[in-house]
């Protein structure tokens, strides 16, 4: 095997795995032999190894030569990059929020804590976020690098590539736009609800005072707390959704679908709460036991409360169903107007 052969097979090793690899090698060998012959003729002597070495040195290292045949020198190319950045931002935000919530939950469940213990939870939380974000980054890069290689350019068009209409600047603000305080309020209240129902359920009760002593009747039954983990999932999903809305500033196809998904999930939970055992611990018996009401009043109030809570759940389900129908309608009109 002469030097040119070895050089060509070395280039071949570094060529991208595309078809025509053998062809490139064959063409390169033929070119190098032509060049060598040319040089031999010019210098008036037969080609020798020194001449070959000079030629190959000039032609460049095998890696460099192979790189010139690589049509795709990017891991994530310019056409994918804006979309990649967008997904990266959303995922980073969601991962961070979810882990912050989990850390918050941990702090709430472990309290009261001593200083060092508290610092450790915070430290674990922060390092957890850093490593999760790095892992998410790696996974997203991997997915996009694969997309870059297997999705044909024609099938992937970013929004910017659609024809931009300057008239869109003059349009009135769309109903899709979100006022910034809405998601913030939603996030804050959902957090409050999460922490009260999960960590301080004793706060939810009817308080009475007799003399110096406060006492309270619990309002919620075991049936409610059995469903609480599922309700929590809905709430956490809502926090994530509002985090995304805060970032995007408007409703779009994916946030609408996400929101519809959460609502349907909540309707299903609502259905089980409605049809299962009562979630309200205020019954004629419990009111009688409290000693505040006489038998008749306890009977009437207790029955009213039991019926009232079911009516309330039914009403909330009804309103949520209307919300879902409205959201689906918007989704359909939005996607059909996008097509035209």
């Amino acid at each position: 095997m002469n030097l040119i052969d070895r050089y060509v097979s070395e280039v071949g090793k570094h060529l991208p795995l595309v078809k025509g690899r053998k062809d490139i090698e064959k063409e390169l060998r033929s070119t190098l032999e032509d060049m060598l012959e040319d040089r031999a003729q010019k210098s008036g002597r037969a080609a020798d190894e020194a001449m070959e070495i000079d030629l190959l040195k000039e032609y460049g290292s095998p890696q460099e030569v192979a790189a010139t045949y690589n049509p795709q020198p990017y891991l994530i190319g310019p056409r994918m990059f804006p979309f990649f950045l967008m997904v990266l931002k959303i995922v980073t935000l969601v991962v961070t929020i979810v882990l912050l919530v989990l850390t918050g939950v941990k702090i709430a469940t472990m309290s009261p804590m001593a200083g060092p213990e508290f610092a450790k939870v915070i430290w674990d939380g922060l390092t957890g976020i850093v490593s999760a974000v790095i892992a998410a980054f790696g996974n997203i890069v991997l997915v996009f690098a694969i997309l870059e290689r297997f999705v044909p350019a024609a099938e992937f068009k970013m929004d910017e590539e659609k024809e931009w209409d300057p008239a869109s600047l003059k349009k009135e603000p769309e109903p899709d736009e979100i006022k910034i305080w809405e998601p913030i309020l939603a996030i804050v209240f959902t957090f409050i609800a999460l922490s009260i129902f999960n960590y301080n359920p004793q706060l939810i009760g009817i308080y009475t005072v007799s003399g110096e002593k406060w006492s309270s009747i619990p309002v919620l039954t075991e049936a409610f707390f059995r469903w609480l983990p599922w309700i929590n999932i809905g709430w956490i999903a809502e926090i994530i959704l509002n985090g995304i809305l805060l970032r995007t500033g408007r409703w779009n196809m994916s946030t609408r679908i996400f929101s519809i998904g959460i609502k349907i999930f909540q309707i299903v939970i609502g259905y089980f709460l409605l049809t299962g055992p009562s979630i309200l611990a205020v019954t004629p018996a419990s009111l009688r036991a409290s000693g505040i009401f006489d038998t008749d009043a306890a009977q009437i109030l207790g029955t009213m409360a039991q019926n009232g809570v079911r009516v309330l759940i039914g009403f909330i389900i009804f309103m949520t169903v209307i919300d879902v129908v409205k959201a689906i309608y918007k989704l359909i009109t939005q996607s059909s107007s996008a097509k035209t």
Binding site: G20, E27, S30, D34, G60, E64, V65, Y69
Partner: protein, 109 residues
């Protein structure tokens, strides 16, 4: 970035577009890579081999060139020639080039 570096980059950018037109214009009759390289150099356009050979393959993939292997002097050579599509495109590219040259000459005068 030093001045020479930026000068080199601009010159590289300028030449990059020209090489396609130069190669297409010379491949009315079939030639193999190295002979085209020499022909371009003889006419005053020095092109790096690392630029020209991959370019020829790209133009072939785009359908502007056709190629065929021929055995000559006991050595196989890949001959390139402008395809039917390339022939249609070439006059348009020439016109475009003439326009650019005219505009730039006026601007730089």
């Amino acid at each position: 970035m030093t001045n020479t570096e930026s000068l080199e980059n601009v010159v590289l950018e300028l030449r990059r577009g020209v090489i396609v037109l130069a190669a297409l214009s010379q491949l009315g009759t079939e030639q193999y890579g190295y002979s085209l390289l020499k022909q371009l150099a003889d006419q005053g356009l020095e092109v790096d081999q690392g630029t020209l050979y991959p370019l020829l393959r790209r133009l072939e993939a785009q359908g502007l060139l056709e190629s065929v292997w021929k055995l000559e002097e006991a050595r196989p050579r890949r001959y390139y020639v402008v395809s039917a599509e390339g022939k249609k495109l070439l006059p348009k590219l020439k016109k475009e080039w003439a326009g650019i040259v005219a505009v730039m000459n006026k601007m730089l005068a």
